[in-house]
Amino acid sequence: MEKNKELLKTGKSKSLISKFFPNQNTIPYYFLLPIILLFLMFMVYPIIDSFLMSFQQYKFGKYSFVGLSNYKRLVSDPTFKAALGNNFIYLLIQVPIMIILALVISELLNKSFLKCRGIFRMAFFMPAVTALVAYALVFKLLLNTNYGFINYLLALVHLPKVDWLNRPMSARASIIIAMIWRWTGYNMVILLAGLQGISGDIYEACDIDGANGIQKFFKITLPLMKPIILFCVITSTIGTLQLFDEPYILTQGGPDNATITVANYLYNTAFRFINFGYASAISYVLVVIIAVFSLIQFKFVGGGD
């Protein structure tokens, strides 16, 4: 009834009220309004603002445009180079190890004879739901040189103690170990769902043709899983390029910037050295790197859904 009245109204005259009154044509905007406002205020505006800020410098109590000088300074900034280098070390070592490990575990969890699959899956996934700070603190304890459990294990098998968090290479290794521990299960769950989606008939056909397990994995599983693996690789890559929490808690970026990431440096620049302009330039370089990497991976693997 109400709606009919409304129709009559709109038919007669397009008064302002009837034009904006929720009907089938205007309703989607009403549903989207809060989200649009939130995105404009807390996403679009900040993105533009930080872009503009990357060309400015704070001097004598106000911001002034300095052209590209923030970006020029970046090119020869040794800390930025170190941070970027660390990001790539993490990326090149951690992401492949983690994805392969996740793939192996999901393949094992998908075996038909396996009992207690749910319990295994839950255990592997548990690290991913832990608070970052909590797990970083526990790892700080585990990796402690003098009383840490990992060095205790090494001593049990008569290996020398490692000064995990205080030497450049081992500190990086610590970050990588911690990240692998945290994120393997997350990727495994996604990959496992993909594996479970592959029809058993295909494998049976392979059995008939006499294919062995390794052939099946490379000829059937891998090609069919390509879009899902791609998804995992891209999200992990983006996550690694944005890495902040682990170095912040575990090593504070040290020793001597050996573990600092671009995100850590950005945070320090902005909130420790209070240089918003320069920090914005850093963040935009990060955006470009992430965009380029995502595109390359899409092209390289031939895209997916």
Partner: protein, 281 residues
Amino acid sequence: MKIKRKPNEARFATQFITYAFLIVGFLVSLFPFYLMFVSATHTSGDVVSYPPKLYFTNNLINNFHALNSDIGIGKVFFNSLFITVTYTLLTIILDSMAGYALAKFEFKGKTFLFTMILVTIMIPSQVLLIPLFKLMTSINMVNTYPAVILPSLANAFGIFLMRQNMLVFPDSLIEAARIDGLSEFPIFFRIVLPTMKPAMAALGIYMFMSQWNNFMWPLVVLRTPNMYTFPLALAGLNGMSRINYGEIMLGTTLATLPIMVIFMFFQKQFVSGILNGSVKG
């Protein structure tokens, strides 16, 4: 047709290797949690003893008192819970509405809007850190709850997830409701939304966990200890000159346990929440 079967020993070997590998992985995954729980009952001296003590002792109460006097457990717990619950409820309702509009209506600017929302997934949160902090300063919202909650509501993942789920809702039901004279808001709230409970649960659990664990933005925008959430309070303890490890491990335990329990209860929804956001896309 005869299917080639593996000989018995080979099958046994496969099973043995599979279980061995998975059990080692199981232990590696859960051991840090065990260490955390055990250390929560230790004195600081016990935690740093060598060889490591791996059994429970009786210092839990002392650790609790120390932790409470350093961070104020009740206040920190309330801050974390209030921010997380408010955020989760708001995100469920707003993302459902947006997802519904994007899935079930044709309107001007729809493709543009949807693309824009998706593109923001690529934007690293660090880019937003500084301008958001400036914005919060200029509108006098630094160190408030809304300052933590509002910006994280602009979240593409949730909108995308709800849209994916809304797509499968039958158009004919919506049409039928319209013919019956139901207007648009009741159609959404009374007809569509009740069928979306599983998706909303998945989204809710996912968002609850990510906000409960959220670190970087709260670190920037919450300035005084009486506003701190668990991750911030714990990071603060870590930075103190006199570090009491037993106390810290009790803190991490308290911050982690609620999430672990929630995860164990809602494991299925949580996992499907991730999957809908990725694989089905």
